[in-house]
Amino acid sequence: MATRTVIEAIREAMDEEMARDPSVFLIGEDVGQRGGVFLASDGLFKKYGEYRVIDSPLAESLIVGVAIGAAVNGMRPIVEIQFADFIAPAFNQIVEEAARFCYRSAGDFNLPIVIRTPYGGGVHGALYHSQSIEATYGHIPGLKVVAPSNPADAKGLLKAAIRDPDPVLYLEHKRSYRLIRGEVPGNDGVVPIGKAEVKREGTHLSLIAYGLMLHYCLEVAEKLATEGVSAEVLDLRTIKPMDEAAVIATTKKTGKVLVVHEDNRFAGIAAEVMAVIMENAFDSLDAPVMRLTGPDVPAMPFNHVLEEAFLPNPERILAKAKELAAY
C-alpha cells in the first residue's frame, strides 16, 4: 500500500489504464503540455504522445461530442472538463446525446466515456470555480455519476469508470485534491460503481455525505463520540445509481438521518435520499430526516465571508446533528 493524495490517485489510475489499454485516451483543455490546470495529467503527454493526450480547443460541447464519436469508433475516451462550472456548454452533448445513445438505439450503441471534472468549493474559486453539479446530472437517466472522497476510492472508481461500458461523470472535489491523503492499493483493484460504503459505524444517528463533506462528517462523528453520541457515516461514493440498500440499511439501524451536501438544496441529492427513506424506511424513523446543504443562491461567492456562509462546515453539521440526536 502506497500513500497518495487524491490527485495522485487520479493520475495513477489514468496512467495505469492507458498503459493497459491502447484505446484509452485523454482529451481536454490544457491537459497536454501543461498537464492540466490541476496537473492531473502531469507527465502523460510526454509518456503517451499528442494523440493519447489531446489539448482540445476551448469548446466543451466539442470535447464531449468528439469523445462520443471516438467511443463509437472503438476508443475509450476520458474527457477532462477544466471546471465543473464550465461543463454547461456540453449539456446538450452529455444529456441529449451521450446519456441517450444506448437507450435510443435499443442497446445497439454504448459509450464507454468518462467525464472527469473538478467540482466543489472552499478554495476561493468564486461563483464559477466552485459549483457542484451532481443533482443536475444525477437527475438524468443514462448517466452514472460518482464522487469519491479519498484516494483509494478515487483510484478504484476511476478504473471502474474507464472500464465501464456507459458514460460516467466522475466528480473530483478540488479541495480534496491535495488535502486528502490515504493508502491506495497497488493492485489492479476497482471500486464498483453503485456501491456506498459505511466509513464509520454508529448506532444513534447516520450522517450521509460524499466528497469533501464526508470528511467533515467524519470529524463531526468524532466530536459526537466524545459527547456520547454514536454516529454512523455513510459515504455514498456513487450518486447515481444510488445505493438505496445502503441508505435504507443505515436508516433502519439508527432511525435518524442527516444528509449533507454543498450543492444547492432545491431538488438536490439530499431530497432524493429523503424520498428514498420516506418510501422504504418510514416506519423506522425516530425523527424526520434532516438535510444540511448549500443554500439556494446561484453559487459560492469569492469573498471568504460569503464563501464560509455558503459552505456547510463541521460546526454547522455538528449543531444540526445534535438537533437530530435530541429530537
Partner: protein
C-alpha cells in the same frame, strides 16, 4: 480557399458516369437507391394520411445529394452521421425498406431504435451509421470524433456527416469544423441546403449566399455543388474522400437542393412557401433528371426501368406488410437499455 461551383454537366457529356469511374451497373445502382428512398417516403405519406402511422419526415428532393455523396464512401468501413432526411444515405449503407418500415411503425424489431424514436432517426453499429437523435447539429462533433479515432489508429477511414443549412447555425457545427481543420481529420461535411429550416428561409438563417465559404475560416476547402445533380455530388464527394484518405483533412460540401414536401407530416408549408416555388423545383427533381441522363446515355433501357420499378414496389409492399404486422414492444421493454451494463450492487 476558393469556392467553386461544380458544373460537371458540361464535362463528360453522354458518359459522365463513366468518366467519373462508375460502371453502368454502379450508375444504375445509384438510380435504384434514389428511387427506393423516394418510394418508401411516398408510401409513408400515404399511410400517414390514412391515419395508420403518426409521423413522416421526408427525403424527397434531396436523394441526389444523399446517394451521390454516399456512393463515394466505403460502406461498412467508413462511417456516416446522417440526419433525419438521409434515407438515401442509409439505404446506400445497407438499410432496407423493411428496416425503414419497422421504424415507421415503431415496432419492436425496428433496428434503428426498437420503436423508441420517430422515423428518420437512423442508427446501426453494424452498418456504420451512428445513432441519430433529434437535436440538430450534434452529429458534427460525433463525426469529428469518429475521424479522430481513425487517425489515432492510423487508419484511413472517413466520416461523412450530413446536416441542413439551418443546422449549420448551431455552435456544434462551428466547433466540429474548427477541430477537424486543426487535426486535418478525415471528415466530409455535407450541408444539404434546401433553402429552409422548417419555415425560416436561408436569408434569415445566414448572411451569405454560400455556406461553403465558411470552410476557409477553418483551413480547408469548401465546394458548392448542384445537389439535384447526383453525379456532380458524387464527383465532388469522391474528391473529398480521396483527400481525406490521404490525410489532407476535411472538406465542406454544400449541396444546393430543395425539399419537395412539407417539413414533416405535422407541417403546413403553404404558410411560408409559394406554390410556384415548389412547382419550379419539382421540375428539377433529381430522380427525373438522372433518369433522363441515364436514358439519354443509353444506360437505362425501358426494360431495366420496369425491372427496377417492380423490384422497388415489391420491396416496399413486402416491407410495409411485414412491418405493419410486426409486434409492438412490450411494456417491459421500457426499462431496458438505460445502460449497456446495469451496475452491480
Amino acid at each position: 480557399m476558393a469556392t467553386k461551383t461544380q458544373e460537371v454537366e458540361q464535362k463528360g457529356g453522354q458518359s459522365r458516369h463513366r468518366s467519373l469511374g462508375l460502371s453502368d451497373e454502379q450508375a444504375l445502382r445509384i438510380y435504384e437507391v434514389m428511387r427506393l428512398a423516394r418510394a418508401i417516403d411516398e408510401r409513408m405519406w400515404l399511410i400517414n394520411r390514412q391515419g395508420r402511422a403518426p409521423f413522416v419526415i421526408s427525403c424527397q428532393g434531396q436523394e441526389g445529394a444523399q446517394v451521390g455523396v454516399a456512393a463515394a464512401l466505403k460502406p461498412g468501413y467508413d462511417w456516416v452521421a446522417p440526419y433525419y432526411r438521409d434515407a438515401g444515405v442509409v439505404l446506400w449503407f445497407g438499410m432496407t425498406a423493411r428496416d425503414q418500415m419497422l421504424s415507421f411503425f415503431a415496432r419492436r424489431e425496428d433496428p434503428n431504435s426498437g420503436g423508441r424514436q420517430m422515423p428518420g432517426h437512423f442508427g446501426s453499429r453494424r452498418l456504420h451509421i451512428i445513432t441519430t437523435g433529434s437535436p440538430v447539429g450534434a452529429q458534427l462533433p460525433h463525426a469529428a470524433g469518429i475521424a479522430l479515432a481513425f487517425k489515432q489508429r492510423k487508419e484511413d477511414g472517413v466520416a461523412a456527416v450530413f446536416f441542413g443549412e439551418g443546422s449549420s447555425s448551431q455552435g456544434d457545427a462551428h466547433e466540429a469544423m474548427n477541430f477537424a481543420g486543426i487535426h486535418k481529420l478525415g471528415v466530409i461535411f455535407v450541408c444539404e441546403n434546401n433553402g429552409y429550416a422548417i419555415s425560416v428561409p436561408q436569408s434569415q438563417q445566414v448572411a451569405v449566399q454560400n455556406l461553403a465559404d465558411r470552410a476557409a475560416g477553418y483551413g480547408f476547402p469548401g465546394m458548392v455543388v448542384d445537389g439535384n445533380d447526383v453525379l456532380a455530388c458524387y464527383e465532388v464527394a469522391k474528391q473529398a474522400v480521396e483527400r481525406a484518405r490521404r490525410g489532407d483533412g476535411p472538406m465542406l460540401i454544400e449541396a444546393k437542393t430543395y425539399r419537395l414536401t412539407a417539413h414533416s407530416s405535422d407541417d403546413d408549408d403553404r404558410r411560408y412557401r409559394q406554390a410556384e416555388e415548389v412547382a419550379l423545383w419539382r421540375q428539377k427533381d433529381p430522380i427525373q433528371r438522372y433518369a433522363k441522363y441515364l436514358r439519354e446515355s443509353g444506360s437505362l433501357t425501358d426494360a431495366a426501368e420496369q425491372e427496377i420499378t417492380e423490384r422497388i414496389s415489391q420491396q416496399v409492399d413486402e416491407a410495409t406488410e411485414y412491418a405493419e404486422e410486426a409486434p409492438d414492444p412490450t411494456p417491459d421493454d421500457l426499462a431496458r437499455f438505460v445502460y449497456k451494463q446495469e451496475p452491480r450492487f
